[in-house]
């Protein structure tokens, strides 16, 4: 196992390291460079074709939102020492329950809560299998995935509708060129994703909860020795993380407005890539999800416009080829939390 590359001890003025506000924000400069290139390209493209560029920019964030929420779910789990490859299933369960509740009650708030509760229960199941049964966590996650896909497809009935999720443009800010459509004219769940990044970051690195969580993920027996209740932390954190996966599932409904069988379509797994690519850090997750969202938005726009005489399938490959290429070229060897995947045995 390799260690992380030397942590950049950046001066407070360096981009992305708002030390005073957020404490240590360690930034991976390779990801940051990628984002900077995209930003410059966007500004240039905006001069050339403002409408298309705005569309891509807005779509980037929209596509990134569910990935951010889902990746944060995975991140909290892994930081507490539990691998969660069941995010895909959690999102599907949340989207299904959220849709059914919203559809029968006509109330979106109830729908969101229902979705969060469903994914949270799945998170508790994962914690139970890991803590009480000491089951292999990859298997437990796979169970959630298969169950989520199976039970939602089994119970699904066509023809139901739910009220559509409103758009919340922020008055004043949404009129800004480029930035307005990109950041300030989205649905509530997209904002929730952006807020969650900051909240999880501060919680993880600035609070007692975060310190305990990281201790449990890195060295559970040491944490136990100083009186941290390892099992309790794992249960609680997986329940909280599940709520984020629930929001991620509902974020899919925000754009689709209807539940479809298997509508996650691999997003839960892509979120895992985003989490590892983001090096188990909330702002890393944000950057990685935005990169992925950008290439998704770009390919969708290029395909839509038929800008080049290239088969659409090749555009469809772009985000995936890009993710692999970036991981390979940058050689981002990540160091996951040390105690990950291992059941903790109280002594």
């Amino acid at each position: 196992m390799t260690t992380t590359s030397p942590a950049p001890t950046s001066p407070a003025s360096a981009p992305g390291s708002a030390r005073s506000l957020l404490g240590r924000v360690r930034v991976d400069y390779r990801i940051l460079a990628g984002l900077a290139v995209i930003a410059v390209a966007m500004i240039i493209a905006y001069q050339w074709d403002s409408q298309q560029t705005t569309a891509v920019a807005a779509r980037t964030i929209r596509e990134a939102a569910p990935l951010i929420l889902a990746a944060l779910c995975g991140l909290i789990g892994e930081r507490s020492g539990i691998i969660n490859i069941g995010i895909e299933g959690q999102m599907l369960l949340a989207a299904f329950v959220g849709f059914m509740v919203a559809s029968s009650s006509g109330n979106l708030i109830l729908g969101v809560m229902g979705g969060m509760a469903a994914a949270s229960v799945a998170g508790l199941f994962l914690a139970w299998t890991a803590v009480a049964l000491k089951m292999d966590q990859i298997i437990a996650g796979t169970i959630i995935n298969i169950f989520g896909l199976g039970v939602t497809s089994f119970l699904y009935v066509q023809g139901r509708t739910m009220p559509s999720v409103p758009n919340w443009p922020i008055p004043g800010l949404d009129e800004l060129p480029l930035i307005g459509s990109m950041l300030f004219s989205h649905g509530p769940l997209t904002y929730a994703a952006l807020v969650a990044v900051v909240v999880v970051h501060v919680a993880l690195f600035q609070t007692r909860w975060g310190l305990r969580t990281r201790a449990v993920g890195e060295h559970p027996s040491a944490a136990d020795t100083v009186g941290v209740r390892v099992y309790f932390v794992r249960y609680r954190n997986l329940a909280i993380a599940g709520m984020l996966a629930g929001l991620a599932g509902f974020a899919l409904l925000q754009s689709a407005s209807v539940f479809n069988r298997g509508m996650t379509n691999g997003k839960g797994f892509i979120a895992l890539a985003v989490m590892i690519f983001g090096r188990y850090r909330p702002f890393g997750v944000l950057s990685a999800a935005v990169l992925f969202g950008f290439f998704n938005a770009l390919q969708a726009q290029l395909q839509f416009r038929q800008a080049f005489d290239i088969p659409p399938q090749f555009f469809g490959m772009i985000p995936f080829v890009f993710t692999i290429a970036v991981l390979a070229i940058a050689g981002l060897r990540t160091r996951p939390p040390a105690a990950i995947g291992q059941p903790y045995e109280k002594e």
């Binding site: 196992m1 390799t2 691998i83 490859i85 299998t129 049964l133 000491k134 089951m135 292999d136 966590q137 990859i138 298997i139 437990a140 796979t142 169970i143 995935n145 298969i146 169950f147 896909l149 199976g150 039970v151 497809s153 089994f154 119970l155 691999g266 797994f269 892509i270 895992l272 890539a273 590892i276 690519f277 088969p311 399938q313 090749f314 469809g316 490959m317 985000p319 995936f320 080829v321 993710t323 692999i324 991981l327 390979a328 050689g331 981002l332 060897r333 990540t334 160091r335 996951p336 939390p337 040390a338 990950i340 995947g341 291992q342």
Partner: protein
């Protein structure tokens, strides 16, 4: 010895029974009679020669998918790219099948091999990225699934090179030539025999060969393997390549024996099924066969079940999830059936490979 073997079978069998009972409860709650449903499923899966043939047909790619996942597990690798590898194997074997005219004894093995080898390239790429660049194979194989799906979609699309000229707007390849079709003997698919042979070869490879020993060593402890002079890079690439070869071969068998052409989007979900089967078989290559037949039988029987009772075929995924849960949680099974605690139900541990980049 005999007692031990019995107990090793007992837990998976109990897990399957409990899984069926749980699924039955869900069927009951949703307003149908579980006994009628399962009766239909059983008859649809084993009722006559045709049904058995269908079951074995369904089980064939599942054996291969299960072997692919199980073999990678041996090296501590998690291959969830079975779906993409299967698509590559299927499309390239279809190409050999329709493009070339050869005598059957050459044509069939050639088409199978080309399918497997092209797919193995996809797996080896993931292995190489892992060994040299530290790219986690879970990520790369998922990403490559989407790449392979897009690539094979294009190959047979209207603008693609392998499109069926008689297909109109349909995205599909031409039918393969008769000399490439895997025959049925007495209503039973020979492709299943190929899959069984593959399972035996993998069992031998893992438990009796030097390569197998190296793979197991790398899987158990890469550091110790390096110390013992085993190249972890070589084994990682090889293990992923072989794993992907198996999945690709599964796609090729399906193409030559059942579909007889390539159409995009067939057999989606094989990646997941492969994981279930590998775990149900506790990553033992020979045990993969009955595990795959079980899942294949549910699949084959689900049509008749739905015709009889209106129970949607998706119930089998739910049953699979329950079965997997009970297999992985022997303590729960023991608690339910009040079985004595045994020391034989060693837990399966795959999580250890997760962080080892």
């Amino acid at each position: 010895m005999e007692r031990l073997a019995w107990r090793q079978v007992l837990l998976p069998v109990l897990a399957v029974v409990l899984g069926l009972v749980s699924g039955g409860l869900l069927i009951f709650v949703s307003g149908d009679n579980p006994l009628t449903a399962y009766g239909g499923m059983l008859e649809g899966a084993f009722g006559d020669t045709d049904a058995v043939g269908r079951t074995l047909e369904k089980a064939t790619p599942l054996v291969m998918g299960g072997l692919a996942v199980a073999f990678a597990f041996k090296a501590g690798l998690f291959n969830i790219g079975g779906q993409g590898q299967l698509l590559l194997g299927a499309s390239f074997s279809a190409w050999v099948g329709f493009r070339f005219g050869l005598p059957a004894p050459i044509h069939i093995p050639l088409a199978l091999l080309v399918g497997g080898i092209v797919a193995s390239g996809l797996g080896a790429l993931a292995g190489l990225l892992k060994a040299t660049r530290g790219t986690h194979e879970v990520i790369s194989t998922i990403m490559l699934n989407f790449v392979a799906a897009n690539l094979t979609d294009w190959l047979v699309s209207r603008d693609g090179p392998w499109n069926d000229p008689d297909g109109g707007a349909l995205a599909r390849s031409p039918l393969i030539q008769d000399s490439a079709v895997l025959p049925k003997v007495g209503g039973l698919p020979t492709g299943f025999l190929v899959a069984v042979a593959a399972a035996v070869v993998i069992w031998w490879l893992v438990s009796r060969s030097t390569l197998g020993f190296e793979v197991l060593t790398v899987g158990a402890n890469p550091k110790a393997a390096t110390y013992a002079g085993i190249s972890v890079t070589r084994i990682t690439v090889l293990a992923m390549g072989i794993s992907a070869f198996l999945a690709g071969l599964g796609g090729a068998i399906q193409t030559l024996g059942v579909n007889e052409r390539f159409e995009p989007g067939f057999n989606t979900g094989l990646g997941f099924d492969g994981i279930t089967i590998a775990l149900l078989a506790r990553t033992n290559a020979l045990a993969v066969i009955p595990a795959a037949v079980l899942i294949g039988a549910m699949d084959a029987g689900s049509t008749l079940m739905q015709a009889r009772t209106d129970v949607a075929p998706e119930i089998i995924s739910v049953i699979q999830a329950f079965v997997l849960f009970f297999v992985a949680a022997p303590s729960v099974v023991r608690w339910i059936v009040r079985l004595r605690t045994g020391d034989d139900d060693r837990a399966i541990d795959l999580g250890a490979g997760w962080g080892a980049a």
